[in-house]
C-alpha cells in the first residue's frame, strides 16, 4: 500500500489547476499529480504513490528500483493496466 514506483516525467500540463505529468513506468504511461513536487521538470524521475509523485529520484536509482520492484513481483496492483482515457470510469474489479 505504501509502495512508490519510479517513473520518468515525459510531459507536464495543467488540468483543473492540478499539475499533471505524463509519467512513463516501463512500457506504461500514466497521468500523475506533480503538485507535491513543484520543482520537477520534464525529463526528471519521480517516485509515484497512488498517482501522486512524492519525491524526486535520480535516473540510475529509478531504473534500478523499477527493475527490483518488477523482479520482486511488487508492481502488480500498483499501476492500472494501461493509460486511462476520459471515457473510462473505474476499473474492472478482478476477482
Amino acid at each position: 500500500m505504501c509502495l512508490a514506483i519510479p517513473g520518468k516525467v515525459v510531459s507536464i500540463d495543467n488540468e483543473r489547476e492540478i499539475r499533471i505529468g505524463r509519467v512513463q513506468f516501463g512500457g506504461v504511461m500514466q497521468p500523475v499529480s506533480l503538485d507535491f513536487v513543484p520543482e520537477v521538470v520534464v525529463g526528471d524521475y519521480v517516485l509515484v504513490h497512488v498517482g501522486f509523485a512524492i519525491a524526486q529520484v535520480n535516473e540510475e536509482e529509478a531504473e534500478l528500483t523499477y527493475r527490483a520492484l518488477e523482479q520482486m513481483g511488487m508492481l502488480e496492483g500498483e499501476l492500472p493496466p494501461c493509460e486511462e482515457s476520459d471515457a473510462r470510469s473505474g476499473y474492472e474489479v478482478p476477482r
Partner: protein, 367 residues
C-alpha cells in the same frame, strides 16, 4: 542462499549479512511497521538468513489490515444505496466487514468500482454528476496527502457529489502505543521508508529520545532491510539508542513539505480505532470543519454499530509482535487469502498473507 542470488546486489547483501553475524552476541527483537517491508522479508526469507538470535516481528504496517471492520460496514451500507457509487483501492474490496465485503455487495448489485488513485475517484465524480461518489480511502502518512488532495481539489472545483469516507493511521502514535504496552518485546524499530519520505524524520527522533529505543529508517529491497537491521543491531550491541536514516535516496530530514502542507490544511489529528489494536489516542486524521461538506461521515446518516465483532483471529497479538501468523490455529485452514478471517490475511501486504504466500509449504511439512 538461493533467495539472494536473484537480487540486484546479492554480493552486497551477503557482506551485510556477514557483518550482522559478526556484531550480534545476544538475542534482539526487531519490528518493521510496513507491509512492503514485511513482504520483502518473507519473499527473500531474510528472517531465515539472519542469525537465529535476531527475531523479526511484523507490526501494524498495512493500513488495509488495520481499517476497522465497522468502517467497511459503513462503506457497504453506503454502497447499497440507490444513488451512491462507492470507489476504493483494489485491496479494500476484499476486506471483510462484520458480515460481508464490498465484492459481495457488488455481486448483489451495488455500484462498487476500483481505483488506483484519488485522481480516478475525482474523475468518476465529474463524469457522474447525478451519482453521489463516495471514496473509501485508507492509508498511512504516505497515502493521506493524496487523499487530502482529492478533497482539496473537490473543494476547489466545487464538486458537490464527491465524499470521503476515510480511515487514516499515523505510525509514530502506534509505535508509542506498542512500546508503552506492558507486554512489549520490541527492542528496535525499522521505520517505514515511504512514510518518512513524506513526513521526514523529526517525529522518529522524538520517539528515540522519549523511549531510549533505536529507530532506523529502511527501504524496501532486501539489502535496504539488511542494512537497517545491521545499523539497529550495531546500536543495540553498543548500548546506543539513536535515530538513523538508512534510506537516504528517498528520505530527506524534513520530508515532502508540500505534501505535509496539504495534509495539514485538509486534515486534523484525531483519536483513531485500529482493527486488532483498539483505539490509539491521536493516531488518525479527520477532515477539518472547512471540508465538512465532503465528509461522508457527516453528510450521510450512517446507522452502523462501531463496535468490532469478537473473533478467534489472533491478529491483535500478531500486530503487536507477540505471536507469529503461524501460531494461529486457523492459519492456512479456516483462514486463507481466498477466505480471510482477519485483515492481515486480506491484503498481500498483511503479515498473515505474506506467511501464507511464502511459508505455507514448510508448515504443511511440519504438521
Amino acid at each position: 542462499m538461493k533467495y539472494l542470488d536473484e537480487y540486484r546486489d546479492g554480493d552486497l547483501a551477503q557482506r551485510v549479512l556477514r557483518e550482522i553475524e559478526r556484531k550480534v552476541t545476544q538475542p534482539w527483537v526487531l519490528m518493521e511497521i510496513c507491509g512492503g517491508q514485511t513482504h520483502t522479508i518473507m519473499r527473500y526469507g531474510l528472517d531465515q538468513l539472519l542469525p537465529q538470535s535476531i527475531e523479526l516481528v511484523h507490526g501494524p504496517g498495512c493500513p488495509v489490515c488495520v481499517t476497522p471492520a465497522s468502517l467497511l460496514d459503513r462503506a457497504i451500507g453506503l454502497a447499497q444505496r440507490e444513488d451512491v457509487t462507492l470507489v476504493s483501492y483494489g485491496d479494500m474490496l476484499r476486506v471483510p466487514g462484520t458480515s460481508q465485503d464490498l465484492f459481495s455487495a457488488k455481486a448483489r448489485g451495488a455500484d462498487v468500482r476500483m481505483v488506483y488513485s484519488p485522481l480516478d475517484a475525482l474523475r468518476i465524480a465529474r463524469q457522474n454528476p447525478h451519482r453521489k461518489v463516495v471514496f473509501l480511502a485508507v492509508g498511512f502518512e504516505t497515502t493521506a496527502p493524496a487523499n487530502a488532495m482529492a478533497v482539496y481539489q473537490a473543494h476547489r472545483e466545487g464538486l458537490d457529489n464527491f465524499y470521503l469516507l476515510a480511515s487514516h493511521v499515523l505510525v509514530p502514535p502506534a509505535i508509542r502505543a506498542l512500546i508503552g504496552s506492558d507486554d512489549n518485546r520490541v527492542q528496535g524499530f525499522i521505520a517505514p521508508g515511504h512514510v518518512c519520505t513524506v513526513v521526514g524524520c523529526s517525529d522518529y527522533e522524538d520517539l528515540v529520545r522519549d523511549y531510549k529505543m533505536p529507530i532506523v529508517v529502511g527501504g524496501f529491497e532486501p539489502v535496504d532491510l539488511l542494512q537497517a537491521i545491521l545499523t539497529l543491531v550495531t546500536m543495540l550491541e553498543e548500548g546506543r539508542a539513536e535515530f538513523a536514516n538508512d534510506y537516504t535516496r528517498s528520505v530527506s530530514y524534513h520530508g515532502n513539505l508540500e505534501a505535509q502542507r496539504i495534509l495539514g490544511e485538509v486534515f486534523e489529528v484525531a483519536d483513531q480505532p485500529w482493527r486488532g489494536l483498539g483505539e490509539i489516542p491521536m493516531s488518525g486524521l479527520r477532515l477539518r470543519e472547512k471540508f465538512a461538506a465532503w465528509d461522508a461521515d457527516r453528510v450521510f446518516d450512517l446507522h452502523v454499530a462501531r463496535e468490532e465483532a469478537p473473533t478467534e483471529c489472533i491478529s491483535a497479538q500478531i500486530l503487536k509482535g507477540l505471536r507469529k501468523p503461524t501460531d494461529c490455529a486457523a492459519f492456512g485452514s479456516k483462514c486463507s487469502p481466498e477466505s480471510p478471517m482477519g485483515a492481515p490475511m486480506v491484503s498481500s501486504e498483511g503479515a498473515c498473507s505474506a506467511y501464507y504466500q511464502y511459508r505455507r509449504h514448510e508448515l504443511v511439512t511440519l504438521r
